[in-house]
């Protein structure tokens, strides 16, 4: 916390003026997000936190921890297991879940395929199959609110999404028919079968997330920091060499010094060459970065200009 009781420049402090109380922008964002977590816990019957293991969902876990301390987080954590997750990410997830003592619900794409919930036609990416798996898990468990780590600075379609984002019985988002959202008065009304996606860090930017991770000193997966890795080039992105993502003709792997800017499906998430090995170095690197984190390293968002909008309408995170 940095509660600055600032004396304003050379202006003498007049008998305890009320201009003295200031909260840094990061503290304001934190306060707003904690407010959202508490509001949802109070008003929804069965919330769940969608956890990918990436930095944004770790920040969400930290905010939830702070919102209810010293009580435990009053809802479980849900992860969609794509079978293509980075092992480092799963390890970090387990450490967080154990430390906080929260319930972990894993919805596996393989199980969803086996039970016929989603169909693997050999053409659909695992990223898209997450949608059916996730919606099925929400329905089966009767979750009425699902926290997501989406940020409005990430992508154009997200810029217009509400903090409380309504989903119909099919899990779909209707961007043209969103509920107005005013002040900090959130409307959580639902009909049977509907659910709400909640985005508590909507107003955070990539830089805010890093600032916060640095300030809080919390653990994130190692792959965000510079390391040696065997990579190959595909579609202009550096992809990890792994049996999960077989190389195609003409692709050659070589060792480079890299780090990841996002944590997604190992077959779609590229890394960037980087020597940034501390949070401060990462922040410095982002400050001068020329590409958005999704544009730089996410195959799933590059397919079309409206890729995210289309997936969101279907029920994506």
């Amino acid at each position: 916390m940095s509660l600055c009781k600032a004396a304003h420049g050379t202006i003498p402090v007049m008998s305890q003026t009320h201009a003295d109380y200031r909260l840094s922008q990061l503290d304001q964002l934190e306060a707003e997000s904690i407010h959202i977590f508490r509001e949802v816990a109070a008003e929804f019957e069965k919330p769940v936190l969608m956890f990918s293991g990436g930095k944004d969902s770790i920040v969400m876990l930290r905010l939830a921890e702070k919102a209810f301390y010293p009580a435990k987080i009053p809802f479980p954590v849900l992860q969609v297991d794509t079978g293509l997750d980075f092992p480092e990410v799963l390890e970090t997830r387990d450490r967080w879940v154990n430390r906080l003592g929260v319930n972990l619900v894993v919805a596996s794409i393989d199980d969803a395929i086996a039970s016929g919930v989603v169909i693997d036609d050999g053409k659909t990416s695992r990223n898209r199959m997450q949608i059916g798996t996730l919606l099925n898990a929400i329905e089966e468990n009767g979750f009425t609110a699902a926290f997501g780590g989406g940020r409005r600075d990430e992508e154009k379609a997200r810029a217009k999404e509400r903090v409380y984002s309504h989903r119909d019985e099919f899990g779909q988002w209707d961007p043209k028919n969103q509920r107005p959202e005013l002040w900090s008065l959130y409307n959580g009304r639902l009909h049977e079968g509907e659910h709400m996606r909640i985005f508590p860090i909507s107003n955070w930017t990539e830089l805010d997330v890093w600032d916060y991770i640095g300030r809080e000193g919390i653990e994130i997966p190692d792959i965000y920091f510079s390391h040696q890795r065997r990579v190959f080039v595909r579609d202009g992105m550096l992809m990890s060499e792994t049996p999960l993502n077989p190389m195609r003709d003409g692709e050659v792997a070589e060792e480079r010094t890299v780090r990841f800017r996002t944590c997604g499906d190992i077959t779609l998430t590229g890394c960037v060459e980087s020597t940034a090995s501390t949070i401060d170095e990462i922040i410095e690197e982002i400050a001068v970065a020329k590409l958005t984190e999704r544009g730089a390293t996410r195959g799933d968002d590059r397919f079309s200009e409206a890729a995210m909008e289309d997936r969101k309408k279907e029920g994506y995170f």
């Binding site: 005013l182 639902l190 909008e309």
Partner: protein
């Protein structure tokens, strides 16, 4: 308090939320594109996408407006249909823009964007001067009590950077603003397309000695806009760990809506009226000496009084009067009109109840400020003065004193949709 000795700049920056209003024709999207571009908040891939689209459409220059058109349907129609939020930062301040469309039918979006704004930015085209639309925008910002207003006189390049035209618009607006509630006004001549007075001072307007738009946004003082006198703490959630270690822990979690709370303060819990003292205030695992808006904290009381969600903690000698008869300005946001005798759900701070529309006193013409007392209903995007009777007492303040405890939303009980936004009169 946790050690947070400013490892990075973000931890010391403050925050300004501003709402923009204006139509595509006023160059609003171009201005936002310019602010993002000149503050280096746009990435290469975003700029490249916009350049490619501009080229494919055969434009002579890069259309910065394309940066802010989010949804496919908007790009197809070339209009903005909803509030979009944008982010940029300069070394000392982070900015959140609520970008709202300016068309007549989208008053509700402007009200939404303005509800959280510290500052409102209204654009006018220097060639046209004040229009009905720019007046309407100013009225809405004033109704929503946005404390700072900037009138950006855009397209100065198209009027030969004429001081006379700027002065004329300035005078006309100042005259109009006397009827409104605008504590702080700045009128800035700019050219969003060329960047004059946006971030960099214009070389074409020597006669203008005021700040550039960016300089003003960076320096306008907003910390004192919140009510720091009247302590208001709506209880959101009761924290009871039910663990051995914290067996007797009972804390009231919420976000400070007004005033400064300190341990030792004599407080009253509303609506029950029970009194007690604040024993301590927690912020996560730290005890803090005071809490003020907009901090989210956990308050503890000395006595074991009954407190639950929806209650409000205030000072004994300065507490809101619980009221069930509410007089408010309401912005109606759905196509089925609001009529007397209608019943709706109402959410105010952390309280929820039902409300009955007793009367619609008048409909406000946001273009002329005329009060129409003949029409006894409110259509979509209309604003009027409404009397409500609620099932639960609201622990409210006049909206003019406190935007957090003076505001409410109305919800259609059948559809669950937010259909109205209300501001309580003093």
């Amino acid at each position: 308090m946790a050690d947070t000795t400013g490892a990075t700049k973000g931890t010391n920056m403050d925050l300004l939320r501003f709402a923009t209003a204006g139509s595509v024709d006023d160059g609003k999207s171009t201005l936002i594109g310019r602010l993002l571009l000149d503050s280096k908040s746009i990435f290469e891939d975003q700029l490249e996408a916009v350049e490619a689209t501009s080229t494919s459409k055969g434009y002579d220059y890069t259309d910065l407006a394309l940066l802010t058109d989010g949804l496919r349907s908007e790009r197809e129609q070339g209009i903005t249909i909803d509030v979009a939020y944008r982010y940029f930062a300069t070394p000392n301040r982070k900015f959140i823009i609520a970008d709202t469309p300016g068309h007549v039918q989208y008053t509700r979006n402007m009200v939404t964007g303005a509800s959280t704004a510290d500052l409102g930015l209204v654009l006018v085209d220097a060639r046209q001067g004040l229009t009905e639309q720019s007046r309407r925008h100013a009225v809405i910002l004033s109704l929503l009590r946005v404390p700072h207003l900037v009138l950006a006189v855009n397209k100065m390049d198209l009027v030969d950077f004429s001081e006379e035209i700027y002065e004329k618009i300035h005078a006309e607006f100042t005259q109009f603003a006397t009827k409104l509630n605008i504590p702080d006004l700045e009128v800035i001549p700019i050219s969003a397309l060329n960047g004059d007075n946006v971030v960099n001072r214009s070389e074409n307007m020597d006669w203008y000695s005021g700040p550039t738009l960016m300089h003003h946004l960076e320096h306008v003082h907003v910390a004192s806009d919140r009510d720091l006198i009247d302590a208001r703490f709506p209880v959101q959630f009761v924290i009871r760990p039910k663990s051995d270690e914290f067996h007797d822990y009972r804390g009231y979690a919420g976000q400070v809506a007004g005033g400064v709370l300190k341990p030792g303060d004599e407080v009253v819990v509303l609506p029950s009226g029970m009194t007690s003292k604040i024993s301590k205030i927690d912020l996560f695992d730290q005890e803090i000496p005071e809490a003020f808006p907009p901090m989210s904290v956990t308050v503890h009381l000395e006595d074991d009084v009954d407190v639950s969600r929806g209650d409000m903690i205030a000072r004994v000698k300065n507490a809101p009067e619980p009221r069930q008869d509410i007089d408010a300005m309401v912005c109606w946001m759905t196509t089925t009109p609001l009529k007397p005798r209608q019943k709706l759900a109402i959410k105010h701070t952390t309280r929820t109840g039902r409300a009955l529309v007793k009367d619609i006193q008048y409909r406000l013409d946001v273009n002329t400020l005329h009060r129409d007392q003949e029409t006894k209903e409110l259509g979509v995007n209309e604003i009027g003065r409404v009397q409500l009777r609620t099932t639960v007492p609201l622990l409210s303040d006049p909206y003019s004193k406190n935007r957090a405890t003076g505001s409410f939303i109305l919800i259609d009980e059948a559809t669950g949709v937010t259909v109205g936004a209300g501001m309580i009169n003093g």
